[in-house]
């Protein structure tokens, strides 16, 4: 059994694809650099991430399949699910070996699986777009904490930079301890050294802008006024708006 070790980055994965083709040896398992070897591992190869190689693989992929498929692969990578890297490896290999794009062939298990995971991640992306709630801080920065199941925050950037182009904002993933800060020009990845105060998901009163509390209250009472009592259906509400998002929503607190 051939085993590859790589650094668990997307570039690393693409480099592994490159090296597999150049060595004409395809791994059955992809391990991180520290994971113990499985039983009966025959050959072990350490992949050193090379952006030149990974770039070539990505370019070739883009040439071979439509860009929707490439973004689907990106989604699967961001799912951070166990074994999703091996799945991607198999998918990319199948793509290169086939004469034309295989994205439509749902008779293949790997392809259905990739589509399924990508759908889950893109749903999480949509939920972020729906349920991000900014709180205006005293320094005019709009702050929003999130904690998505999959690492979908990078996928939302095109939307948020377009939508909130006229204000400074910070969206912070408190689960993965990183976020994006937009300074009216570009959104850049940031990690806060002292983020413990933000982990609750709520800004302290002294950090809030003066009118922030007012608009939260206004929103809350608007939300309450909008309910039609004759049609109450909490199950439907939870179905559309899962409980895990509630702690960030002013109207549900």
């Amino acid at each position: 059994m051939i085993v590859f070790r790589y650094d668990k980055t997307f570039d690393g994965l693409l480099t592994a694809v490159f090296e597999a083709y150049s060595r004409k040896a395809f791994p059955e398992k992809l391990l991180s650099e520290t994971e113990p070897l499985p039983l009966f591992a025959g050959q072990e190869h350490r992949v050193s991430t090379d952006t030149g190689k990974s770039g070539r693989v990505w370019k070739a992929l883009n040439k071979k399949v439509p860009k929707e498929v490439c973004s689907m692969l990106m989604h699967v990578w961001l799912s951070e699910l166990e074994g999703s890297d091996e799945l991607l490896f198999r998918y990319i290999r199948k793509t290169f070996d086939a004469p034309c794009s295989i994205a439509g062939d749902f008779t293949d298990d790997d392809i259905t699986e990739v589509a399924k995971i990508a759908k889950k991640v893109s749903r999480e992306r949509l939920r972020l777009i729906q349920f991000v709630r900014f709180q205006k801080a005293a320094d005019d920065i709009f702050f929003a904490p999130v904690s998505p199941v999959y690492n979908a925050l990078p996928l939302t950037l095109p939307h948020f930079t377009d939508r909130f182009a006229s204000q400074k904002w910070l969206i912070y993933d408190i689960k993965r301890r990183y976020g994006y800060y937009y300074d009216l020009k570009t959104a850049a990845e940031v990690t806060l050294d002292d983020d413990r105060r933000l982990l609750s998901g709520r800004l302290n009163e002294e950090l809030m802008a003066q009118d922030e509390k007012l608009f939260q209250d206004l929103w809350k009472s608007y939300f309450r006024a909008l309910t039609i009592k004759e049609r109450i259906n909490p199950r439907l509400q939870r179905q559309h708006m899962p409980r895990r998002f509630w702690k960030f929503l002013p109207e549900k607190n």
Partner: protein, 440 residues
């Protein structure tokens, strides 16, 4: 002395600030309560990228930002400019003779509220409606001032849905179309004699006129944009309308025929169905309902989807022999059971339109089936993975190794029984429990 004086000025200002806020809070509550019975809250139909110096964008597909306890989507700030009204429509909470709290926003207040909510990602945009004050044109003018202020002064780039007031003049409708993404006029009651009974001051003409103006504006704008690519758009998300269900004696056939006719016009994007909620209980012209007809509303939406996305004609869903939709099973299944001769469908051979008519197969699954069968034959295990509801579909399809249940013959009564039975069996407590009788 000086500092004292200064302080008192400050506290004065502060107390007026608090008072003003309380006033806005009060207005927001009252006017949201008045607006909530309008079901439309979609923000779809316009894609607009942000522009430098402007606030916001429009996503094209509509985004729900919250869901109320009744499970309805909150996408727009659905609000009335004022709930004073000169009309006395029996089905409406804001009618003249009702004793409700009346108030009105100023343009400034509503604009600020919209922008601040928008910046916090609470909403996709504004849904502006209003009671009719003085006369339709006066009301319409005030509403236009809000949307114009948003678009021109604050350079707001998000979504705006605006009600067109029945009876408003064509100039004002075309002015509104410049700023709003979607305009709408509610039909409310499908049959004119019923409308006259419940809303004596209204007639169908006053409703269809503004609809026609919107339609004209949109088609003129399409022509213009063919010649000048950058001509400003006129209500790019088209128009929508709403009908109240269950307040009058219209059958589903009447309702769906009207919707179907409305969808023939290119600008009509959505018809909404609103199950009647008894807001005015003391009116003898209205039925005394215990509960809003939610099941009927749901079936009407399903039928609506069949007409818009599944290629069904209205006569296939309801006709003179069956003027009402079946509340027990959905309209697609109803059609399939009435047409056993069309089934079973061979998924490896049938065309897209026919696959779409199989109960349990939706638009997405049908597309995937058509795409996938270029690569290989379709099997039943694959259908499950695609997301076909096999519970319903299995009676109507053949593919490869899978033969339909009952050896290829569709037996409507049997299928109907099986598919409706399971639901009630679930409700029975301990229905699957084995009971053992011990003799004494």
């Amino acid at each position: 002395m000086f500092s004292l004086c200064h302080n008192s000025i400050l506290s004065d200002k502060f107390s007026s600030f608090v008072k003003m806020n309380e006033q806005i809070l009060y207005k927001l509550k009252v006017l949201a309560e008045s607006a909530k019975y309008d079901v439309s809250c979609s923000s779809s139909g316009t894609t607009r990228k942000s522009r430098p110096g402007a606030t916001g964008s429009a996503a094209g597909w509509g985004i729900c930002h919250s869901f109320t306890e009744d499970g309805r989507c909150v996408s727009l700030l659905k609000i009335m400019l004022a709930n004073y009204c000169m009309y006395d429509c029996a089905y409406c909470i804001n009618r003249r003779s009702n004793d409700v709290r009346r108030t009105a926003f100023t343009v400034q207040e509503l604009v600020e509220l919209t922008l601040e909510f928008y910046r916090r990602n609470y909403i996709e945009g504004l849904f502006l409606s209003s009671g009719v004050m003085n006369n339709p044109d006066y009301t319409m003018e005030r509403m236009i001032r809000v949307v114009k202020d948003l678009r021109t002064v604050h350079r707001y780039n998000g979504y705006i849905h605006m009600k067109s007031i029945p009876g408003a003049s064509p100039e004002l409708v075309s002015e509104a179309g410049k700023y709003a993404d979607r305009l709408s006029v509610n039909i409310e009651i499908p049959k004119e004699q019923n409308l006259k009974l419940l809303a004596p001051e209204k007639n169908h003409q006053s409703i269809y006129r503004p609809m026609f103006y919107i339609q004209q504006g949109i088609s003129a704008n399409t022509e213009e944009r063919k010649r000048f690519r950058h001509a400003p758009r006129f209500a790019p998300a088209g128009q929508s309308t709403q009908m109240i269900i269950g307040a009058t004696d219209e059958s589903d056939k009447d309702i769906l025929r009207l919707s179907s006719a409305l969808y023939q016009r290119p600008s009509m994007k959505r018809v909404y169905y609103s199950g009647y909620i008894p807001v005015n209980t003391n009116d003898s012209r209205l039925p005394a309902l215990k509960q809003a007809p939610l099941a009927r509303e749901n079936r009407l939406y399903q039928a609506d989807w069949l007409m818009r996305f599944y290629g069904f004609r209205v006569n296939e869903i309801v006709d003179d022999t069956f003027p009402y939709l079946d509340l027990e099973i959905d309209p697609k299944l109803t059609w399939a059971l009435r047409h056993p001769e069309a089934f079973p469908v061979d998924l490896n051979k049938a065309d897209y339109e026919m696959i779409l008519r199989v109960p349990g197969i939706g638009v997405k699954s049908a597309r995937l089936i058509v795409v996938s069968r270029r690569h290989g034959r379709i099997t039943s295990s694959m259908l499950k993975k695609i997301g076909v509801a096999m519970k319903r579909a299995k009676y109507f399809i053949t593919c490869n190794e899978l033969t339909p249940c009952n050896g290829g013959e569709v037996q409507p009564e049997y299928i109907r029984k099986v598919l409706t039975e399971k639901k009630s069996a679930k409700k029975e407590p301990g229905g699957r429990q084995l009971t053992i009788l011990f003799p004494d």
